[in-house]
Symmetry: C2
Subunit: 300 residues, 2 copies
């Protein structure tokens, strides 16, 4: 059973106990372009108390730099170095873990955010936002020329996904020996400002289905994302807490990394998902309705 936090002494103890606070963003700090009430104040309270803040998001449609612009627009203080996105982690994985040779390439199903991060890490790529691949024209295998240098397919949320992209990725993954199948994250849905829409996991599902093969996933809950953070930031897992709205990504991610976990109910997960006979087997350490609840420690 998770501890349901409700009182000022409980929130105060929580804040005292953890030095590093890792935040999921969508569903925790905001919904689409709408801030969650109290989120900005709580981040300010934590900063004033000397806490280290990190933003750990599976959103791969934006690079860290463009994600920073979103923080700015919403009036949330953040630096690029505090932001860890699955696009960035994927680029780091390809360059540092996979060690893709400089003359090899990645075929991208994804948006500008992935391309920016790959470019920053010096990884060559094709596909992505290339207009030649953003098309609903019929795909012809006979006029397709397989690039033998493509050694990985990286798939993230792509609002321009189409049959040409899926077919090309399928060719690389079945015809280029050793070609790796990577996905930025496996979220089945994402919470837009106006409701749920199919997520990055849904975009890669056709390849998974056609290949009968699971990809290597980089974002939460995968350990790869934590490895990426640990390579840049020193933190004590015992004094670190992961705050999120999704049990099978955020909370599982925190647990797999030996972090404490706080579930908020402002996003995907509802109270029914964590109570009663059909409760999820993934049990966070703490639950609170909204991140804004923590304002109470400052008497707000």
């Amino acid at each position: 059973m998770p501890a349901h936090l409700t009182t000022r002494p409980e929130y105060s103890l929580l804040i005292d106990r953890y030095d590093t606070w890792m935040f999921d963003c969508d569903g925790v700090l905001w919904h689409g372009d709408r801030l969650i009430e109290g989120a900005v104040e709580v981040l300010e309270i934590l900063r004033k108390r000397g806490k280290r803040i990190l933003f750990v998001t599976n959103n791969a449609s934006k690079s860290r730099k463009s994600y920073k612009a979103k923080f700015d627009a919403l009036g949330v203080q953040a630096s690029v170095e505090e932001i860890y996105g699955s696009a960035y982690a994927s680029a780091v994985y390809i360059s540092s873990v996979m060690k893709l040779p400089k003359d090899k390439k990645v075929y991208v199903i994804g948006m500008a955010g992935i391309e920016e991060e790959l470019r920053e890490e010096g990884v060559s790529f094709i596909g992505g936002t290339d207009p030649a691949d953003c098309t609903l024209e019929p795909f012809s295998l006979s006029s397709f020329s397989l690039d033998p240098d493509v050694q990985a397919v990286l798939c993230g949320l792509d609002l321009s996904v189409n049959y040409t992209k899926l077919s090309k990725a399928f060719q690389y993954l079945t015809r280029n020996p050793g070609c790796q199948f990577l996905v930025t994250n496996e979220d089945s849905t994402f919470p837009s400002a106006d409701g749920l829409l199919p997520g990055a996991g849904a975009i890669s599902a056709p390849l998974r289905y056609a290949l009968e093969k699971d990809p290597i996933s980089i974002g939460k809950p995968a350990k790869t994302m934590l490895d990426c953070i640990q390579a840049k930031v020193k933190f004590d897992p015992e004094r670190t807490i992961m705050i999120g709205d999704r049990l099978n990504t955020d909370i599982l991610f925190g647990q797999a990394g030996g972090l404490a976990t706080l579930l908020v109910l402002t996003g995907i997960t509802s109270k029914q998902d964590i109570t009663g006979p059909n409760a999820s087997p993934i049990v966070p350490d703490y639950v609170t309705h909204s991140i804004g609840d923590l304002r109470v420690v400052d008497g707000q």
Copy 2:
């Protein structure tokens, strides 16, 4: 162990034993636009001997009428009444089994073939080839108006699949109470003339993944397809044989319906798939390299 047929007496016995011959098409009679050698002659031999011929295809991109045109173009004798496609079976399922009221609608992810069959069965639909849905423009949930009359989503192979279609289908399936999730078939790939491409099962995979729910599948191996044939044609399952190239659709379909099964190796399945320690658990009654092998009974 299946019986591997190789000699004239074996093929003659096979022909004597079965009165109704159900053929898969892609990978059995042709690859894309290329006939498989001997296929036309074998169909002629069977017809001369008074056999009933049926064509049972999961291809939902064409209606029976337009599929007939493909037979004509390739010089293969066939009548529309002999052709059973998963688009037709889906339309029959919606009108006759689901009994969708006339004032309700289907949201289609699919091509003209599905639309033609739905129209023939008097089923109203939206989506499909509607230019408004065949777009790579960003999908906006705030400007989407949910049609409360949509009571089923039918998904088949759609070479114009895109995020707008997937998002609309997702909205109907999550927000219209009782909305049914149907797929014409679940083939992971399809054999084009120049190689494998993602199949209808891959097109519906994003919805399956985002909904965490399996659809009702109409085409082979589902019983629904056989029910559809049985409603129109009288045949004795004990004297009927299903010929196909795919174990988990054609052969499974035949077995589930109590039919004999003949696997050909001119399509998806290779010899390694049916022999040795990693052989599939789906074992056909008979195997022959190509349908053309049966020509030997006429001394050809």
